[in-house]
Structure formats: C-alpha cells, structure tokens
Amino acid sequence: MKSQLDMAIRVRNVRKSFRSGDVVTPVLKGIDLEIAAGELFFIVGPSGCGKTTLISVLCGTLEADEGGIEVLGHDLRALKPALVTAFRARHVGFVFQQFHLIPTLTVVENVSVPLRLQGKGPKEAQRAAAEMLERVGLGAKIGERPHRLSGGQQQRVAIARALVHQPALIVCDEPTSALDSETGRQVMELLTPQGGEAARTVIVVTHDPRTYHFADRIAEMEDGVVRRVMGRDEAALAFGFFPQVFTPTS
C-alpha cells in the first residue's frame, strides 16, 4: 500500500441514490476505495452495478449523497460547484465510450478544447494539440473532421484530448468496448502511464476482459459495493487472462 501522500484518490463510505418520483434507488451503497498516484486502475462489474456512477462521483461530475471523496488532495464534497468545475478543467482528462468529439470541429480543434477551457489562446492550444496528435499517431489527420476517421482513430483523438492538458487523473468509460482487439490494444497502450508519467492516474471502467491484463489493480463491483480489489496476479487468476490477450485481427 502506498503512503497517504501517494494516494490520488481516497473514498470513504460514499453513497449515492437516484430518485424517480417517490422511488429512491440506492446505486452506491458505501464505497471505500484508495487509488494510488500513477496507477492504472480498472473498475469492472455487471451492468447496473454502479461503475459509471462511481467514476462520475470520483471526477466530480456527480455529487455524492454521503461520504468523503478526496481526489488529488482536494475534498470534492467541500468544494463549491464552480471550483469543482475548475478542478475538472485543470486536473481531469476524460475518455468516453462514444468519444463525444464535436463533429463540426477538426481533430486538432477537438483536442485543443481542454486547453481552451483553461484559457489558452487558439494558436497555443492547437500547437500543443498537434504535438499530442503526433504522439498518438494521428499527426497527418489534424485537419480532418472526426466523422472521416475510423472508430479507433476517433478514440485516439479522444485520448489525445484527455492527455493534452497533462491532467493528473484520467477517467475512461468503456474506452475499448466499441473497438476491435488490435485497436483496443493500441488504445490501452496509449492510456497506460509510461516512464516519466508516474503521476498520471488512470481509472478505467470497462466490461472488456480483453483489456484486464493492462490494469495494475482491478476493483470488482456488484450491486453498489466494491466486492474486492485485486492486484495483477489475483486478477489473472480470477479472470483467467494471459499476458497477451489481444491478437491482430488480420
């Protein structure tokens, strides 16, 4: 276990319910979790178990009803909504299942959005975005509109957008579920913190067992609670994966 200072995320007894009319549905039923800085952390579990709600709470897009949430040293529940928004802009990168690239912007404009939100000018932001696109292998596509790219390429653009402002936390929601094995592998390799990027914590919510072997640790959720948190070896035994699950499709 890492020291308190090395912890990127610390969650204590977090609860969240949704109300629809008179019906209250508890979704998170007391989550306790710690995620270390630089960790590639997976959250897995069946549909409806609360994975998406948990990452929404962790990154501050959703407010918890109860419990303590400390992310990168900030007590999110104590922050005013405007400060939570500013916190996300500065410290969090997002990779969505459906990419959510703005179709009327070019690839480089899409990638530059997080920097624009931080107040950077268009030229400076697009220069940094172009460099990031080079790093994810899409340097030749900067002027294209997203719809002209394949699904894998769009997800790489989304990853570039998540990384461009060098956030300390990246939250990924099913980043490979719409991709073939080879493209999924490439996407996971891009998300995996490399040497010199130790401070970057990546949380991945996924249903895709092909990617489990990338994780440093895996939290298995069920019915609104974390059943267990597994290290690599334990996860390999539990899910039966081998070091190289992805194989080229051709």
Binding site: I55, T61, F94, P103, T104
Partner: protein, 379 residues
C-alpha cells in the same frame, strides 16, 4: 471559446442555413407587414409629398389633407398679411372626372389648382414637357399614372400634346410629372387655380387650402403659430399635416389592425420557427455540450457560447431578410406599391429579432443548464 462556439454553428452548413432561414423568413414577414403599414399610411399624405409647401392653412375643422372645407376667397390675403409670412397663395385640391375623348371613358382624378403667378407647390420631378407651360390656355400637367390610365385604349400612354376633357372642358397635356399615388390609388392632374374652377365640380368657394412660407429667419412652426393666432384658421407645418393625416387614418380605418395582425403573425412565426429550430440545435448538441461541461466548461461559459450563436443567427437572418426585401422593393414600380421600407421598419424588426433571439437563447440556455455533466457517461 468564441471560435469553438462559431465552429459548432458554422460547421454544419445545412443546419446553419435552416437556423438563419427561420429568422430571415420571420424578419421578411414582419418587415413587409410594417412596410405595407407605412406605405398605406403614406398614401394618406401623398398630396403633401406631391405639392411641397412649408405651411398649409386650412379651416379649423380640417383634420387631414383629404378633408374638404373650403376657405373664403379673402383668406389667402389674410394669411399673406400676417407678419412673418413670406408668401401665401390659394390652392385647390378636389376630385373630378377626366374623360378620354377617343373612348368616352371617364376616370376619377385628383385635381390640383396651383397659383398661376408663382406655381408654388408644383411637383419637382418633371419627366416630359414643362410646368411653366401651365400658363398656356387649357393646359394641364398630369402624373405618369394619369397618363397611363387615360391612355389605356391607345397603343401608348398619353403624351405631351394629347388632349382629354374634364367637366366638358378641353385639357391639353403640357407636362408629365412623377407623383405619388394618393388615397384609393388616386392619380393627379395639375393646373392653375383659376382653371381648376372650370375643371372641378363647381362649388361656391374654391380655395381648399392656402399654401404659405415663413420669412427668412422665422421658423416654420413660429410662422404657422402666428397664422393660426392672427387669422383664426388652422395652420399646419408640412410635418404636422402629414402626422395629422396619418393619425386620422390610424384612428378611422382598420389598417392598424390588419397590419398588426400581419406583423404579429410574422413575430409568432419567428418565435416558433427560430426559437424551435435553435432549441433543436442545442438539443442536438446536448451530448457535446455535456462533454464540454464534464471537461470543465462552466454553465456561464456555455451560456455565453449559446447567446453568441443565437446572436449570430439572429443578426445574419435579419440582415439577409432585410437585404432581400430591400432588393425586392427596389424592383417594384416607384410610388405604386403600398410598401415603404423606412428606418422605423428596420428598427422595429430589429427589436423583434432581438426578442426572438432572446427567446431562442432562453430556451437554449435553459436546456444547457439542465445538462448534467455526468450524462456523458451514459450516452
């Protein structure tokens, strides 16, 4: 983020065109309704535009230019004797029938009798012949519309030298002028005051108005006030008489109601079409706006982007709409169509478009505020 907001708007040209066309259509509807309103209103004071005089002196009971309450023959002299009046001349305006000799067909015309010595108030834009030839016997000057109407049974409209009859008296055309059509589409025949006595329907007193002007250094308003005070007659400045004539039409005809209905429908169409289209535009962008919110865009920032987009759509639609309408109006025959695209039309339509934009923005911002950033994980 201004450029991002604009890119989101301009990026889908079909949607952008649809958004603009809603506002454009609405602006055109409202502007043409208002132009029609001002156009019809301007008919009420057409004589005042065709016969230019700084001061119009009438019977105190007169409310508008078309009212006919003759003055005494001595009234022109009384006005002339008021201190501060440079000149004052008798004037006649009335209806009569013009008969085409070749076919015997009669057409109603507005007969204008001008002071023979000065021809004060004569129309300024002569297209053929000369106003001064009115001093010749049996001479008249007609406007283009009269020339066309009386020449319908010929190969061409009437020209200088052609002859017709009014009140069984011969009238030879010595000039053709441009003039604005009056109420009921009336066309004009100009002659001298004395000759108008013969051409018009006979009545005991023939002076319908006295035209006057102030001496140099005295304002028109002051001179008009002096005339009213010293003669007991009513002296209008040109602007006051136009305004009084318009007011009379507004309060005594259903025109404001009819035009108000057209303008109101245009506004409603704008609100519904532009508001709904813009609301749909925001709804279609919900997941992208949600992604922006998740990535750290505040509600205020996205609201500003939405207002900017609505503003661009509104102003562009307004500009195109007014531009197209201006071009269309320029293609219409001058003075005939009851359409007047004056600056108040542009201002009123602009204000209405601002309201439409505000409504569209309100709908858009309301839906933006309802977007939960967490929704991007569910869609």
């Amino acid at each position: 983020m201004t450029d991002v907001a604009l890119q989101m708007l301009y990026g889908d040209r079909a949607k952008y065109a649809l958004l603009i066309s809603g506002v454009c259509f609405s602006a055109v509807l409202m502007a043409q309704g208002l132009a029609m309103f001002f156009g019809i209103l301007s008919f009420s004071y057409a004589t005042l535009e065709n016969v230019r005089a700084p001061i119009w002196v009438v019977d105190p009971k007169i409310e508008q230019i078309a009212d006919n309450q003759p003055l005494k023959d001595t009234d022109a002299d009384r006005v002339r004797s008021v201190s501060g009046v440079a000149w004052a001349v008798p004037f006649y305006s009335g209806q009569t029938q013009a008969r085409v000799l070749s076919s015997g067909e009669s057409k109603p015309v507005t007969l204008i009798g001008l002071d023979a010595a000065t021809l004060a108030g004569a129309p300024a834009r002569v297209v053929a012949g000369a106003m001064l030839d009115l001093r010749r016997a049996q001479s008249v000057v007609v406007d283009e519309e009269t020339a066309v109407r009386l020449g319908r049974d010929r190969e061409h409209s009437l020209r200088v030298g052609d002859v017709f009859e009014m009140n069984d008296r011969r009238a030879e055309i010595v000039g053709i002028v441009k003039a604005k059509q009056g109420q009921g589409g009336a066309s004009y025949v100009f002659t001298t005051f004395d000759r108008a006595r013969e051409y018009g329907f006979p009545q005991r007193k023939m002076i319908t108005h006295v035209l006057a002007a102030p001496r140099q250094g005295l304002s028109v308003e002051e001179a008009a006030a002096r005339i009213s005070r010293e003669t007991g007659l009513r002296a209008y400045t040109e602007a006051e008489f136009k305004n009084a004539s318009s007011q009379w039409m507004l309060t005594n005809t259903p025109i404001p109601f009819v035009v108000g209905l057209i303008v109101g429908i245009g506004f409603l169409v704008g609100v519904i079409v532009a508001g709904q289209t813009f609301y749909n535009f925001v709804l279609e962008n919900t997941r992208f706006l949600g992604a922006l919110k998740a990535m750290g865009a505040s509600n205020a920032r996205i609201a500003r982007m939405t207002v900017l987009q609505a503003g661009i759509v509104g102003f562009t639609g307004y500009g195109i709409g007014m531009g197209l309408l201006t071009l269309f109006f320029r293609g219409l025959p001058e003075g005939r169509a009851p359409l007047l695209l004056q600056w108040p039309v542009a201002v009123i339509v602009f204000a209405a478009v601002i309201l439409i934009i505000a409504f569209a923005s309100f709908l858009g911002i309301r839906s933006v505020f309802r977007i939960e950033p967490a929704m991007v994980f569910r869609t």
